[in-house]
């Protein structure tokens, strides 16, 4: 709720000026990427669900495609699995083009969002299904299945039917059923969405450790930004069929390429304004709201003065003080609108000028709580803010 109000109070940015990034691997290694997606397009009637998406996934990497529902991320996953074919572009796995290759001949296995466990088969037979289809000898199947079930900690439940398992256990079966085939890539479709909050957090840790232990290459689709950041080596942010940014969780969070990415990955405290003159290493930034003073920000020197921009700051970058700090550089005064105590931290919604509502946080019981109506000062390091140009 807090994040929403903070974002909504900003003037909306419907269009993005930044072009979609083509993610390139900074490949120092000579190993070819496991997955190469080259400019794939997928249309459903008049709607372009996936629009010229390209990316690569390295061996052993946990790669997440993050985006709101309808972003086209599931389509990308289904094109990797072979349930859909791209209208344009190429999908290559281990260097081989997968176009026209049906799902049953692709070296990938999917963990379905609904798990899609066969209700008439036992846990063991579910896990053995893929090996059986590839006519693996029975003795070897037993061996592999036992190994996979041990890995997901389901030993002893071999003869249960899926209906007799808890949600978390079903999730493990689905995972075991995929990884027992030793696929080149394990595809995960919202793997934890069906679990409740606590189980979800436990499974995040476990899924990650299984992936590392088995050296799996994973492509995971999720709309849950925290989940993606905690589990992934790299994240790709999708929206409206396009892939906007690819990078490590830190990169994407700290240096989002546009306002959408910034808002989607966390709380984005925003202030629209106009770029001013250079002052030493810094630049002046004049907020559109004339009640607010100009700010001194550190930014790229190339942008000409007069350009419209939006300043964005993460809540944890802001520091709150009751008294005016002596020499803090970018500084704004505001009024506490709401105080929200959340245990380990306290969130404040702060009214800045006429239009903006920002969120800032203080940890736990360190400071005495500020009360609504109080006047405070917000300051931050001049290099912390991000400017997005329109």
């Amino acid at each position: 709720m807090t994040a929403d109000t903070a974002v909504r109070s900003q003037p909306s940015m419907a269009t993005f000026s930044t072009p979609p990034v083509i993610a390139s691997c900074s490949s120092s290694s000579s190993v070819p990427p496991t997955i190469e997606i080259q400019g794939i397009v997928r249309r459903h009637g008049a709607v372009t669900a996936v629009d010229r998406v390209s990316f690569e996934v390295r061996r052993g990497e946990f790669f997440s495609i993050l985006g709101p529902s309808g972003a086209g991320k599931t389509s990308v996953l289904r094109m990797l699995a072979g349930f859909e074919d791209p209208d344009d572009g190429d999908v290559r796995i281990d260097g081989r083009s997968m176009l026209g290759v049906p799902p049953n001949r692709r070296p990938v296995n999917l963990v379905f969002q609904s798990y899609a466990l066969f209700p008439h088969l036992t846990v063991k037979d579910n896990v053995a299904f893929g090996l059986k289809m590839r006519r693996v000898p029975a003795g070897q199947i037993d061996e592999e299945v036992r190994h996979a079930l041990a890995m997901v900690k389901l030993v002893g439940k071999e003869s249960r039917k899926p209906g007799q398992l808890s949600g978390g256990e079903q999730q493990r079966v689905a995972l075991a059923r995929a990884l027992v085939n030793k696929p080149a890539v394990v595809l995960l479709d919202e793997p934890l969405a069906a679990l409740d909050q606590q189980l979800r957090q436990a499974m995040q840790v476990e899924l990650k450790s299984i992936q590392e232990q088995a050296g799996l290459t994973c492509v995971c689709v999720t709309h849950h930004q925290e989940e993606a950041m905690m589990m992934s080596d790299r994240i790709a942010v999708m929206h409206q069929g396009r892939m906007w940014q690819v990078g490590t969780p830190r990169e994407v969070y700290a240096r989002p390429c546009n306002l959408f990415v910034s808002r989607f990955l966390g709380v984005s405290n925003e202030l629209p304004g106009r770029l001013g003159d250079r002052v030493g290493e810094d630049r002046l930034f004049h907020p559109t709201d004339s009640d607010l003073p100009p700010l001194l920000l550190r930014t790229e020197p190339t942008e000409p003065p007069g350009r419209l921009a939006t300043l964005s700051l993460r809540p944890e970058q802001l520091r709150i003080s009751r008294d005016r700090p002596a020499d803090a550089c970018p500084l704004l005064s505001g009024r506490i609108d709401k105080t929200l105590f959340a245990g380990s931290e306290t969130k404040y919604l702060i009214r800045i000028g006429r239009e903006s509502l920002w969120e800032a946080r203080t940890s736990g019981s360190e400071t005495p709580a500020l009360t609504p109506g109080e006047h405070i000062f917000l300051h931050w390091a001049s290099s912390d803010g991000r400017l997005f140009f329109e």
């Binding site: 459903h44 669900a49 309808g70 349930f83």
Partner: protein
Amino acid sequence: MQTRTTGSGTVSPRESCRSSWLAVPALVWMALFFLVPLGLVFAISFASRGTYGGIVWEFTTANYLDLLHPLYGKILGHSLWYATLTTACCFVLGFPLAYVIARSPARWQPALLLLVMLPFWTNFLVRTYAWMILLRHDGLINNALVSLGLVTDRLELLYTPTAVVIGLVYGYLPFMVLPLYVAVERLDPALVEAAWDLYASRWAVFSRVVVPLTMPGIVGGCVLVFIPSIGSFITPDLLGGARSMMIGNLIQHEYLVARDWPLGSAVSFVLMAVVMAAVALHYRQADRSAGPVDER
């Protein structure tokens, strides 16, 4: 998300084409033994009757014009009346039953529904015959009425319109209960409670909240009862007298007794028109209410 819209339709178009051939034998069968015979009946309804009961292939609308005769009109009229009465009686009996089942503990519901459906799975002739035993001049009902002193003379129950309607209600009550059950089961009990909370009387709760929200089930149930009732043959044949003949009996009579096939065919198509009108009503209602009901 997208999974829903793209669904399984995209798996492999080549396989799909191959599998649709599986439908061909059954479709040929239905065309040959269902559509062709129906077409034949339709064609014959415009032909004339031969001297010895055969068909003379001369186009005429005389058969349909013959149906305007008051004798046939009367049969059609009270067929409609019996079927309507049956539908109404089924609703009055079936709605409380459906409501009680839908509001009983979830684990009892399948058993209760089975209890309603079980008689339906017994032979229709046998079920109709059971009423002959009950309604006979010396049947159980008359025995009971006399020994209780409610009547002095035994009532003539069998071979009357009343017997026909009782038999029809008995035969088709399960058809009413099932769709009503589905509709009531979907009705959120909180809506009824909200109406109570907002000062509605019992009648207002029923007529302003329950009925509008279960309308698809009500229409469905009524159509499902009306259709077999209007086309019934066994019930009026066994329980009805000469004066409670229905369309079904008329058709049988024209074909097998009077051997006037063209006239029988014309009667068949009038019956079919009535049935199709009821079906159309059902589909229109289903279409109109499909959206909001399925939202849940």
